[in-house]
Symmetry: C2
Subunit: 468 residues, 2 copies
């Protein structure tokens, strides 16, 4: 009944920008990781921050859950609605509000996507480096602490945020930082909201860093006789401090998927995609050093693309990899996981994982932002075969447990959502208590994206189990 | 009476490592910024984390305030004891626990100082970049979100912390992160404790990043005909993305202070101290680019030091500047302030500040980590002349207000302590509420470094006003 009263009031306030259509609701309850959670009760498309605040205030009054929604491209059930509630779809708030070229920062609304921002910045000689596979919104990327192929050089979303405008769970509007590059003024609220997955408030605007497009870019592909040879080359590269802009590993199955999906004919071998940024002299130096390292491990001659369109084609193929693997595993569900370990343990972790896959008989690809010690696996399993699905889940658990034992983390960039809550407990133990204290302090009614990051109650586990 | 019972129990538990001697207490109630707050009731020197936790539990039971103490080199009254209480002196917990060269991280106790760490790392070809003027402890540097001359290239303490061991205000021991370079696992507790000034817990151990000593270092001095010419050169340098490792501005009065203190004879002109890191080729390229920029603004020929001992001598003089200025202003108090603005506003902010000083007739130097938009002023005033002291305080207020109006922050690196609580309110407004919510959630008894960052009550303002 409370819910009906809330929806009535929201509808009166916002008219047809509040939708209760089944198609709309279902489209907002499903993410790209295959987590089909319950759908929200309604979808609201705000036009400005004031409207977001007003909607949250109405929801707070009636204790109706609020689920922030960007592009719907998250992977761990972040946008499902286990308790029902209002999905606030931020994609319409996509204005680029200010570009400060001289300070290398921009102010944008949370619904701006990474591709939209980069298209806008290109003529100004600037770019925004964080590039998850999907064309996510920046608000979503803030909320999952997203990263991507450039993180080894430019950092993740964590390193890009100078300030956020946030609507709190009580409907207050706050600004978490300034445009200064550094500050020692009070608690670091920027970083508290980065990665909070919408459980502490809704990000409505942000000031983020941008970068000058480097004078020279060179991207290349280098193939290796074995997965371990490729990984060792990555470890060498990072350990000597070579300032590589991107260094991505695709195993042979990933290459097969890329070839099929993008009509390419790369040899099916473990492959590093690398990119170097800098002055022409610096890039030449970096290429030369990398060649030596790769050569020591039996790497192939490197095909370098120097023209922007060739570089774009290369990275487009890489970014399509998740979709490519899903296409290759047609008829199966795909379970994607994501861990990050200290670079010295990357080889151990990936090779043990590969051995585990081989023993299981499942089709699974491995790939990753290996320069950060971060890798993903995409495991295919038949949804109609419970044993296969259970085996896939077991593989996922093994990978996470292995990463944690090696001093790593259960997720490098995808986040917790509903999918990794148990893994977060494995990893953080006692440190979950302060997280819960913050949650309770900010959101005493528990309305902001409930059930994500951690379970609200024991009963919650059943509600949030989701489906792959 | 509660206090007496707490001290009795602490004394029984820790013997003579609990000191109530007046000299000890006074030495722990005074910082380098000249904030002479009330001294703590006792000083405790723990040997391990377990002891810190036990002491905090006893204090929590009796509601006795706890004030974490590192090297006592903070500048805004962070270590004073307006409510009395127990100063926990971490300087004895100074073991270097592990060096992971292959992952470029180290594990240390919080009492390790930056110079101690670098002396230890040097033979391993590694260094830790964050270098506030003082030889602070890493625990203190975490707690004030310290930075220094290398921040423009390597970041501040904010960017170095991979994980912290923290004793919470209830005496629990938590670990805030892992050794993975990035993680999307739950709320970012690392960054919550970095800069919390000991108000949310005591940092006892940490894992921080270290860096390979660059193949080539070159440091140089470039003099300019005017302050604005020097500042414009900095802005040009940052805006073209030149990856300078250090770029420090000293005004002519700062140079005079350095000359006197270090027996040098640098011409008394606005001067940039710069340093470049990288491969020999990259450093040459960077020097050439910088020469062109400096030349365009009338900069002098650059004296470059390439030998490590010459470089060290140069930076030693720079790091002594705070002490040098105090020596030059003998018999006066010095009020140091620290703001940070977007780089495009740095010239406006510094020149308006200089004009303000000139009009005031006070002796004041300007210097700073200008590549970050961060600068300090050190204002001398006669403590026996109330008008002069008031004028100095007014200058400080003007600088902070100007920085905030320009999109900047009231402190780039020194922190809030008791000295800048009002300025924090000016800067953050509504965003103080979530900070207070976190404080109340973590520290329901209000025992952790009370009165720092924000006032506990209105009455607190009188208690914490301190003296310069």
């Amino acid at each position: 009944m409370n819910k009906d009263m809330a929806l009535k009031e929201l509808s009166e306030r916002f008219g047809d920008r509040l939708s209760v259509k089944a198609a709309d609701r279902d489209a907002h309850g499903r993410d790209e990781g295959g987590h089909d959670g319950p759908s929200p009760d309604a979808v609201f498309r705000p036009e400005n921050t004031r409207e977001v605040a007003d909607a949250v205030k109405i929801c707070a009054r009636y204790r109706l859950p609020v689920i922030p929604f960007g592009a719907g491209t998250s992977l761990e059930g972040h946008i499902t609605a286990p308790y029902g509630g209002l999905s606030i779809d931020m994609s319409g708030m996509n204005r680029i509000l200010a570009v400060h070229s001289e300070d290398l920062d921009v102010r944008v609304e949370a619904g701006v996507t990474r591709k939209q921002l980069n298209a806008f910045l290109h003529d100004k000689g600037l770019f925004f480096p964080v590039d998850p596979g999907a064309d996510a919104t920046l608000g979503g990327m803030v909320s999952t602490r997203a990263s991507g192929t450039n993180a080894v050089r430019y950092g993740t979303m964590r390193e890009q945020v100078l300030s956020l405008e946030v609507v709190t769970p009580m409907g207050e509007i706050i600004e978490t930082g300034t445009r200064a590059r550094k500050s020692a003024a009070g608690y670091d609220l920027n970083h508290l909201f980065v990665g909070a997955e919408g459980t502490l408030g809704i990000v409505t605007e942000m000031t983020v860093k941008v970068y000058g497009i480097p004078e020279k870019l060179a991207a290349g592909i280098c193939r290796f006789p074995s997965l371990s040879a490729a990984i060792e080359t990555v470890i060498d590269t990072i350990q000597i401090g070579l300032p590589v802009a991107r260094i991505e590993l695709l195993d042979e199955l990933s290459i097969r998927a890329v070839n099929k999906h993008s009509s390419m004919d790369n040899p099916e071998q473990p492959t590093l995609f690398v990119e170097f940024h800098g002055s022409p002299g610096a890039v030449e130096e970096q290429i030369e050093l990398f060649r030596e390292l790769a050569d020591d491990r039996g790497g192939s001659a490197i095909d370098f693309a120097h023209k922007q369109e060739d570089i774009n084609r290369l990275w487009h193929a890489r970014h399509q990899l998740y979709y490519a693997t899903r296409a290759l595993a047609a008829g199966k569900n795909t379970i994607t996981t994501d861990v990050c370990v200290p670079i010295s343990r990357l080889g151990d972790c990936m090779l043990a994982t590969r051995a585990d896959f081989t023993a299981s008989g499942l089709f699974a690809t491995m790939l990753g932002h290996v320069g950060d010690g971060n890798f993903h696996t995409i495991i295919a399993a038949d949804p109609d075969n419970p044993e296969e699905m259970a085996l896939a889940d077991q593989m996922n658990e093994n990978i996470v447990r292995r990463a944690i034992e090696m001093g790593g983390t259960c997720t490098g960039e995808h986040g917790i959502g509903t999918g990794k809550r148990t893994f977060l407990e494995w990893e953080r133990g006692h440190a979950l208590m302060p997280m819960r204290q913050i949650k309770a302090a900010f959101d005493p009614f528990g309305i902001m994206n409930p059930g994500k990051v951690f379970a609200l109650t024991d009963a919650d586990d059943a509600l949030c189990s989701g489906k792959h």
